[in-house]
C-alpha cells in the first residue's frame, strides 16, 4: 500500500494538480480569513470554517476526479490488477495520498487561529473541533469522489458528478428543514453532511457524528473496491 500511496502523492506534484489545489485553496482561504476576520475585526474562527467548506466541496472533486478515471484511460489499472496488491490496498493508498494533500492545505491554515489568538482569545476546543470536523468531512468527500471516479473514464464527468453529490448532501439539511416536514424531514436532515458538522464547530465531539463520518467514509471506500471489481469483470 505504501507504494501506491507514495506514487499517488508524487503524481499530485509532478502533474501540478497538487500545487494548483494548494495555491487556490490557500489563496481563497487567506482571502476569506483576511476579509472575514482580520479586516472585520472578528475573532470568531468558526465563521472561517463555515465559509471554507463551500470552497472545499468545489476543490475536492478536482483532486479526486483523476484517481481512477485517469488510470482507466491510460490503461494503467491493468498494471495494478496484475500486480500482487489487493484492491483494498489500491483504494486505501490513493485515499490516504489525497487526504495528505488536503491535510497539507489545512495544516497551513493552522496559522489563522494562531493569529487570532495573538490578538484575542480563541477557544482551543473550538479549533480542535473544527479541524477534526473538517478532516472527517474531507475524508468523506474524498471517499465519495473516489467512488465516482471509479465509475467513469471521463475526469470531467467524475468531477461534476462528485460536486453535485457533495452539494446535494450538504443541502439535505436545508431540504429536511424547509421542504420535507415531519419525521421524513428529520431522517433527511440526519443524512446531511451539515447536520453532523455543526456540533464540531462548537468544540463538541459527539461520538454519533464521528461514527457518521467514519461510516460514510468506510462505506464509499468499500463501494470503490466493488466498483473496481466490476471494472475487472468488464
Amino acid at each position: 500500500m505504501s507504494a501506491i500511496y507514495l506514487k499517488e502523492l508524487r503524481s499530485y506534484f509532478t502533474s501540478m494538480i497538487g500545487y494548483i489545489y494548494l495555491s487556490v485553496f490557500l489563496l481563497i482561504g487567506g482571502f476569506i480569513f483576511t476579509t472575514g476576520n482580520l479586516l472585520s475585526q472578528n475573532g470568531d474562527i468558526k465563521s472561517w470554517f463555515a465559509s471554507i467548506f463551500s470552497v472545499l466541496i468545489f476543490l475536492v472533486p478536482i483532486l479526486t476526479m483523476r484517481l481512477f478515471s485517469e488510470e482507466r484511460k491510460m490503461r494503467t489499472l491493468q498494471l495494478l490488477f496484475t500486480m500482487p496488491v489487493s484492491l483494498g490496498e489500491i483504494v486505501f493508498g490513493k485515499f490516504l495520498a489525497t487526504l495528505t494533500v488536503l491535510g497539507m492545505g489545512l495544516a497551513v491554515t493552522l496559522l489563522y487561529p494562531l493569529i487570532l489568538a495573538f490578538f484575542g482569545s480563541v477557544e482551543a476546543m473550538v479549533v480542535v473541533g473544527n479541524y477534526l470536523g473538517m478532516s472527517l468531512l474531507v475524508s468523506t468527500c474524498i471517499a465519495i469522489g473516489m467512488f465516482i471516479s471509479a465509475l467513469t473514464e471521463n475526469q470531467i464527468i467524475a468531477a461534476v458528478v462528485t460536486y453535485s453529490v457533495l452539494l446535494g448532501l450538504w443541502l439535505l439539511d436545508t431540504a429536511g428543514q424547509n421542504l420535507i416536514k415531519g419525521s421524513l424531514g428529520e431522517v433527511v436532515r440526519y443524512l446531511s453532511l451539515t447536520t453532523h458538522y455543526s456540533e464540531f464547530t462548537y468544540g463538541i465531539l459527539n461520538p454519533a457524528d464521528l461514527v457518521y463520518y467514519l461510516t460514510l467514509t468506510a462505506l464509499f471506500l468499500f463501494f470503490s473496491v466493488l466498483a473496481l471489481e466490476g471494472r475487472k469483470s468488464a
Binding site: S2, A3, I4, L6, K7, R10, S11, T14, S15, M74, R75, T76, L77, Q78, L79, L80, F81, T82, M83, P84, V85, S86, K232, S233
Partner: protein
C-alpha cells in the same frame, strides 16, 4: 506451473473463452495463436488475474489466482498489448514503482532495475519521461516492468505489435534469451514470430482451443504423413506410370505445373518408407528429370488457416 480448468468468459450471449483446458509446464515457451477476436487477450487477462472468469479456475503453482491473488500473482510478470506505463514518470520511477509493488527488497531495487534495463536495452533512457519515448521503447519499459522481481512465468500479449522490423527482431532475441530462465506464454497472430521461439502452440478459434501441440506434431497431424512434392520435366502420361511402378507408393497425384514442360507430383509413401532415391533413379532412367523434390509438410500458415477458417 499454470493450469487452466474449464476456463470460460461470457458476456451475455457472447462467449469469448469457452471451457479452455491447458497446463503450462516449467521451461516451456508456449505460443497462443488465433485470429483477431479469437479470445487470446481475454484468456491472458484471466490467467493473469486481471479479469475474473465466468466459470473455471486458473492455478499458478497450485494457487488459485482468484482465491489467492496476492501469492499467485507474485509468480507472474505480464506485458499487456498496450504497456501499462505512467507517462508522467521517468523510466526509473516506473521501474521503482514496479519493484515496490512486487515487494523487492529496497537494498536491491537499484541493482534489479540495472539488471532489467540491461536485459531489454533501455539503459540510456532511464532518466527520460515515458511520455517522450517511442512505442518501441515504451514496449521495452513494459517488458522490463514485467521482468522486475524475476517472476517465473512471463505472459506477453502481442509483444511486437506495432513495432518496426528491427524492434521486432530485438524483442524476439530478448524472448530467446529469457526462455533460458523463464516459462513464457506469448500471444500473437504473426506466425513467424511464434515458430521462431515457441516449443508448443495453443491455437484458438472463436473462444475455443482447437489445437494444443508442438509445431512438429501439428505438422504431422495436419500434414498428411509421409509425402513428397516433386516437379518433373515430362508429360503426365510419361511420368505417372514410371512413379506408379515404384514399390511403396500409397498415393500418387500428378497435375500440370505452372512451369512449362513440367508436371507437379504429390507422392504419398507407406509408413516409414523413404522413396527419394527410388524416385530419383526411376525418373532418371526414364529421362524425366526431377527438377525439384521436397517433403510436403504444410506450413504453419496453412495449418493455422485450416484450423481457424
Amino acid at each position: 506451473m499454470l493450469t487452466a480448468t474449464n476456463l470460460t468468459k461470457q458476456y451475455g450471449s457472447l462467449v469469448s473463452a469457452d471451457s479452455l483446458n491447458f497446463t503450462i509446464e516449467k521451461g516451456e515457451v508456449v505460443g497462443l495463436l488465433g485470429a483477431n477476436g479469437a479470445g487470446k487477450s481475454t484468456t491472458m487477462n484471466m490467467i493473469t488475474g486481471c479479469m475474473p472468469p465466468s466459470s473455471g479456475t486458473v492455478t499458478v503453482f497450485g494457487q488459485d489466482i482468484h482465491e489467492e491473488p496476492i501469492s499467485a500473482k507474485r509468480h507472474i510478470g505480464y506485458l499487456p498489448e498496450i504497456p501499462p506505463v505512467y507517462t508522467d514518470m521517468t523510466v526509473t520511477e516506473q521501474l521503482m514503482f514496479a519493484c515496490a509493488l512486487r515487494a523487492v527488497e529496497k537494498s536491491v531495487r537499484k541493482s534489479e532495475i540495472d539488471r532489467v534495463c540491461e536485459l531489454v536495452n533501455i539503459g540510456d533512457m532511464r532518466r527520460r519521461m515515458i511520455k517522450q519515448l517511442s512505442k518501441g521503447y515504451r514496449q521495452r519499459v513494459g517488458m522490463a516492468q514485467a521482468l522486475v522481481g524475476s517472476p517465473e512465468l512471463l505472459i506477453l500479449d502481442e509483444p511486437t505489435a506495432g513495432l518496426d522490423p528491427k524492434q521486432i527482431i530485438d524483442i524476439r532475441q530478448l524472448i530467446l534469451k529469457l526462455k533460458e530462465r523463464h516459462t513464457i506464454i506469448l500471444s500473437s497472430h504473426i506466425l513467424a514470430e511464434i515458430t521462431s521461439v515457441c516449443t508448443r502452440l495453443l491455437i484458438m478459434k472463436g473462444g475455443k482451443l482447437v489445437a494444443d501441440s508442438t509445431p512438429e506434431q501439428l505438422g504431422n497431424a495436419h500434414g498428411g504423413g509421409n509425402q513428397l512434392e516433386l516437379r518433373v520435366r515430362g508429360s503426365a502420361e510419361a511420368v505417372r506410370p514410371v512413379i506408379a511402378a515404384i514399390p511403396g507408393i500409397a498415393e500418387l497425384q500428378v497435375e500440370e505445373s505452372p512451369e512449362p514442360g513440367c508436371v507437379d507430383v504429390l507422392v504419398t509413401a507407406g509408413e516409414g518408407i523413404d522413396l527419394r532415391e527410388a524416385l530419383f533413379f526411376a525418373l532418371a532412367a526414364a529421362s524425366c528429370p526431377a527438377v525439384m523434390m521436397k517433403p510436403a509438410k504444410p506450413t504453419l500458415e496453412e495449418i493455422f488457416i485450416k484450423l481457424t477458417a
